[in-house]
Symmetry: D3
Subunit: 294 residues, 6 copies
Amino acid sequence: MFSYLDLQTQNGQRIDVWPVPYEGTVSFGRGTSQGPEAILRASAEIETWDEELGQDLADLAHFTTWSAFEPPVSGPEEVLRCMQEELASICTPESFVLTLGGEHSVALAPIRVYQNLFPDLAVLQIDAHADLRESFQGSPCSHACVMARTRELGIPVAQIGIRSLCREESQRIAKETNQEILTLFAHDLPSPEQAAAQVREFLGERPLYISFDADGLDPSILPGTGTPEPGGLSFSWLHRFWPLFFGKCRLVGMDFCELAPLPGAGVVSESVAVRCINRVLTAFLRQGGPNAPG
Amino acid sequence: MFSYLDLQTQNGQRIDVWPVPYEGTVSFGRGTSQGPEAILRASAEIETWDEELGQDLADLAHFTTWSAFEPPVSGPEEVLRCMQEELASICTPESFVLTLGGEHSVALAPIRVYQNLFPDLAVLQIDAHADLRESFQGSPCSHACVMARTRELGIPVAQIGIRSLCREESQRIAKETNQEILTLFAHDLPSPEQAAAQVREFLGERPLYISFDADGLDPSILPGTGTPEPGGLSFSWLHRFWPLFFGKCRLVGMDFCELAPLPGAGVVSESVAVRCINRVLTAFLRQGGPNAPG
Amino acid sequence: MFSYLDLQTQNGQRIDVWPVPYEGTVSFGRGTSQGPEAILRASAEIETWDEELGQDLADLAHFTTWSAFEPPVSGPEEVLRCMQEELASICTPESFVLTLGGEHSVALAPIRVYQNLFPDLAVLQIDAHADLRESFQGSPCSHACVMARTRELGIPVAQIGIRSLCREESQRIAKETNQEILTLFAHDLPSPEQAAAQVREFLGERPLYISFDADGLDPSILPGTGTPEPGGLSFSWLHRFWPLFFGKCRLVGMDFCELAPLPGAGVVSESVAVRCINRVLTAFLRQGGPNAPG
Amino acid sequence: MFSYLDLQTQNGQRIDVWPVPYEGTVSFGRGTSQGPEAILRASAEIETWDEELGQDLADLAHFTTWSAFEPPVSGPEEVLRCMQEELASICTPESFVLTLGGEHSVALAPIRVYQNLFPDLAVLQIDAHADLRESFQGSPCSHACVMARTRELGIPVAQIGIRSLCREESQRIAKETNQEILTLFAHDLPSPEQAAAQVREFLGERPLYISFDADGLDPSILPGTGTPEPGGLSFSWLHRFWPLFFGKCRLVGMDFCELAPLPGAGVVSESVAVRCINRVLTAFLRQGGPNAPG
Amino acid sequence: MFSYLDLQTQNGQRIDVWPVPYEGTVSFGRGTSQGPEAILRASAEIETWDEELGQDLADLAHFTTWSAFEPPVSGPEEVLRCMQEELASICTPESFVLTLGGEHSVALAPIRVYQNLFPDLAVLQIDAHADLRESFQGSPCSHACVMARTRELGIPVAQIGIRSLCREESQRIAKETNQEILTLFAHDLPSPEQAAAQVREFLGERPLYISFDADGLDPSILPGTGTPEPGGLSFSWLHRFWPLFFGKCRLVGMDFCELAPLPGAGVVSESVAVRCINRVLTAFLRQGGPNAPG
Amino acid sequence: MFSYLDLQTQNGQRIDVWPVPYEGTVSFGRGTSQGPEAILRASAEIETWDEELGQDLADLAHFTTWSAFEPPVSGPEEVLRCMQEELASICTPESFVLTLGGEHSVALAPIRVYQNLFPDLAVLQIDAHADLRESFQGSPCSHACVMARTRELGIPVAQIGIRSLCREESQRIAKETNQEILTLFAHDLPSPEQAAAQVREFLGERPLYISFDADGLDPSILPGTGTPEPGGLSFSWLHRFWPLFFGKCRLVGMDFCELAPLPGAGVVSESVAVRCINRVLTAFLRQGGPNAPG
């Protein structure tokens, strides 16, 4: 396989990159199992220098890319169990794992492991879909349920970019809003400055896990996702958000899921994915990163 | 074939969906004959709940998808004649037919049938091209002539998103503007609020037919059309326009044409098409729809 | 969905066509879940007249195409259980079901159901792979194990076209040959006449189920399979085999699996699949079919 | 556009190459309108030296490639009328025109024009389909009817490679065989030597027009056709046939139709097309060609 | 090959269009060698009327499309040498050459030739990348070095849209800014009005060469480039820029490079390329063009 | 990158696998630079057991896959120089290197290095093209010249499968045949038994290097090459040839070149490539391999 960014340096924070090419039983094929390889491959072509922030990610971090997770064929519960087992045996509070999906359902494994390490964990979700269904296509572990499962663990969830949901999810958000769920809908999006302030207030100083579903971005700039939804976050909105957002909170891990590369449409989607991941990491690490004295 | 939205309900307004996979004699192939199937297939994956309007289209309408029209091979005039015959035999003033093209030329058949039912019919055209040529590639029934033919019937036409036309079409628009043609050019687009007011004033309380050419939208969000033209309508502009626009006017029918799915580029274009159709219907029907007491 | 052959007639034997677009958890995507739709769609373009046999399949059979099976997401054992339950509730000794996979693993469900109906059932497998592994990728229900599972039921298996296997499978074949397994390897293939005689002798007058893995054919003529293996059966060898083979034996059901359509490479693979299925049916049914007086 | 073979020489027989990218009204798109350009483009990469015959086509002929025919949009009868008008105004008994389709229906125009020039014209058809239907999809000028129309003109037709037909076509062949139609079915193909003798005897010394439908070849070697049919002519059978066949008969024109290039599958189909055309021309012209003293 | 715009007129300024399908030694293939043909082919479908400016490019210019440059295989220095030789032998101060790449490295040839004709030449670069590396992948003539080579010639360079660079390039820009380099970064882009004023002041009345790298635009509207970078120039920003920018400066030549068409994703990228080129030419030529009395 | 066969064993002969993704300056793109990765990736899916020979390649050899060669951008001579330098520094008479191209031109580097180690080296070439041109597209190091360069070194060359050449190459073969060149043309191919005897007699007991151009095989079974030529070697002919051929001669190295994977057409070509390589190695190594007592 390929290595994330393909750097030869050992500067700054160590980041473990975990490719999880898992795509559940598919009837009409979505392609998210090809996501990790596409991201790793594209990453070698992307400059690590961030002109706006005046920082080079290669100074702030180095990356260790693990072998790809080999999902068992016995269903999604078993996949999550194996992922958790593997991750829990390696992960310490000092580890920073970047999980590359695969379906969004795989995010549940690192969320559970990180909650064991940081009991007051909070989650920031970038997504087009609320993912708050109780069950979908006969499984409580579908990609459409990952935040329902997260909420069951008592973890507060901030959501940005939501624009596709069913009435039940809408009602749940209305009921829980501002206490356990903060939803910034795409059709009513505040400025990056306002959003950064709102989310910071909601999350407080909890340790933070970011779960980034590729379809949170608008499909004009990231068309390669299983269920593209127009009206999403622009690249520049999100790009500006991260440096405004990071401050006191400590980012402990993150995932990037649901990229489904489009073989006939070039490498725009995976290049954008790498840019998004790098921006999160650069914006966070320039402050000192997870192991800096808080 | 597939069914639009694949709902199992019978709520609200009945809408008949008519796939017309017609693409005229082609030398270099454009792919609009694949449009209807792509739209129907994508529609099953799209949520019917509209979070912003607080409405579920599945409460407002149910859909009956007809077998696809089988175009005869004897040229475009004959295609239009057969379409009209088939449609006229079924359509009553209470029918709402959603025609899925195919080339934009097919719009002429429902426009003629609806004008017979509603003699003061007006047309609202979403398009990149003015379609006001007298003739193109040797035929007066080309996709580039559909609004010239509509105007010949005395039907007033409002156009939104126009940005590709020849000098003759430009001169015609200049001459007829505000009396029989209202053209909102893409390079000089007013706000959705202003546009809604302008178009409402132009159309008055005439029964309305909407002819939606996929290339009215910007190709960044809908790349799958035969002749993509940059500088088009953004998804959010149009999304905001519809709820502002609908009020007194009665929508009697509509078409969505010129989608040419891109097999190597995912399903963004067809997903956007469904979102656009659903928004028009939801924005209109929440007021009561065509059969509501006006 | 589409209907097999799209005939409007009700002649001869009723054949139930069951699309099973199941593809197990995939890491690198193979595409067999697209197989059933591709076969159904291609079937409408294929002539039913068989010039060589002087028979029209449309005189011998009519087809009822079921809705596609919707595989649960909870793993392959559960998929097989649901398939069996659904099939057993419908299938009688008079039914003839043509199952369209999907992975080859799905063949196990109809084989089990037919064995309940016909306890002395035998299986004729067309395949590149022996499929005799005890377990593969952590599951005893993998596509690579389907004939190991079939043998466990005590069912004799004749295999034609085998050319890809591991040493353990080779040893098993050597041990069981001519008693419970008859393997005609592709590199040592007898003439169709000899093969027909050998297989008839091996199978005797047992009721027969045919399990047809697309990769039994050479990839020059059927490139669209998950694991193409050169050196396979030519189309003409197999075409000549069937009329020579059928005689006393009663065919009770069949499947065609592992077709993975190639979107950029035309429709050769799916057209060949339909031709192969039609040839089996025509060669068998011209004698009177399953319900003829034996 | 491109030039056939892209030679810079003026040796031997002049051959006019006429690209006719016509594809009739299509519902599901077949791609034969892309055929002429693909053939011209591929031709520049192919060696003109024929090692087996010890001849260089560049010594025997030179090529003039016309601008592509621009089919009118008013249906197939009008297309044929325009083609005939254009061709008749240029063609003399000394002309040799190589028409590159497009649909097979376009062959009717050169056949009619050549019959006017040579009243005792005969046709040799390479094809998978008999093309003897009276009408198809509502038109007597469909690609499925081209030989029915040819027979109406009293022209005898020899067919090689036929394997897909309906019962009515089969009955017609049975009735007319050996008098006006000679059909060499693919499933009962004689050796090239026998076939050459049979066809020569059938055709006698009539001036000959060759109509070559790409699907006559087996799809393993030429997958890029609209309706691929397995069990076809092998490349080597046909390659060996031509030098055995040509002798006294005078070839006056030919077409190559129904190539539908496959963008994702390389250039095999179009390369094979060029090799087939070149072999016909080399095998014929080494004897002196159409204008040699007979 | 094809002709740019395929006009039959001889109005206004003659523009020579030079296709240069050069792509240097590639390990992972980028596809820019297909750019010139894609642009020429798309150009025939684009209207030449500019509604906003009230001008028809067909009144202002006519186009002569040269045969494509055939790059030698002996490395990039030799390619540039041959290009320069060919260009210098044809080009006079009155010529206007539009070079269609190919890699951005090919821009160096016309820049050198135009500097010989106009010693005080300046360059305006539209690009995502600064292209100021001293050397890349072992060559000083890589596409990543083209502006370093240009600066060595003493030519001042204005850059618009830059957003991907390494630290060394960032430092160089910081050092040379406003004297010899003016860089308008994409993340800090002024309004078109301000940008036009800034660039005009920087360039003064020097003769101008425009080097347009396709990736300067945002990949949402032009996805077909070798190294897509999100956060780029919007189509409308650039569209508005040109009429504001042109005034006293004389445009003497231009190139459009790095378009890599995406076969599975339609023709959006190449259509946008043509629109961009036409806008530059229309905005400049409506003032009288290069040969107008300055 | 990926490892050839992905074995975890260390049995038998060590074989070094060298990916050389070199593709010279391309105008219209052929894709051979993608060949090495496609072969490595496909190799993991292929069984190593050879049923016919009763041997498992995993018992006979183990594989060490090197990092891919990074070709310099300064032209083909420099590429060959760097390859030779790298190879000569590692290669001893005991090494067995399997080079995976890339263009066929890269074969010249290992041929030169092996000739230094074994002065009486002979070459066996599987190919559609004679590759005996003195120069092509301005370079003596083109893929079309590799055997002309080999012959200049005094190395005898046996060629199998040749069917595409120019008159000059034909004349050269006629002149040198049976002394320094043995050419088995595809159109006049002897049986595998006869061919094995002829080639063995021609080569005698010289140390042997095999240069395998993918297009030697017929494109029906290996369509993914830059210049497909119909009428080639069948898979079964070649499969039977190798065990008959190997005897006294010592194979010292080999390459497999010119595979150009077809992204839209599945993995047939690369799977066939792996099968071909494995068959050569198994047929040779079961005798004891290069380091066995001769």
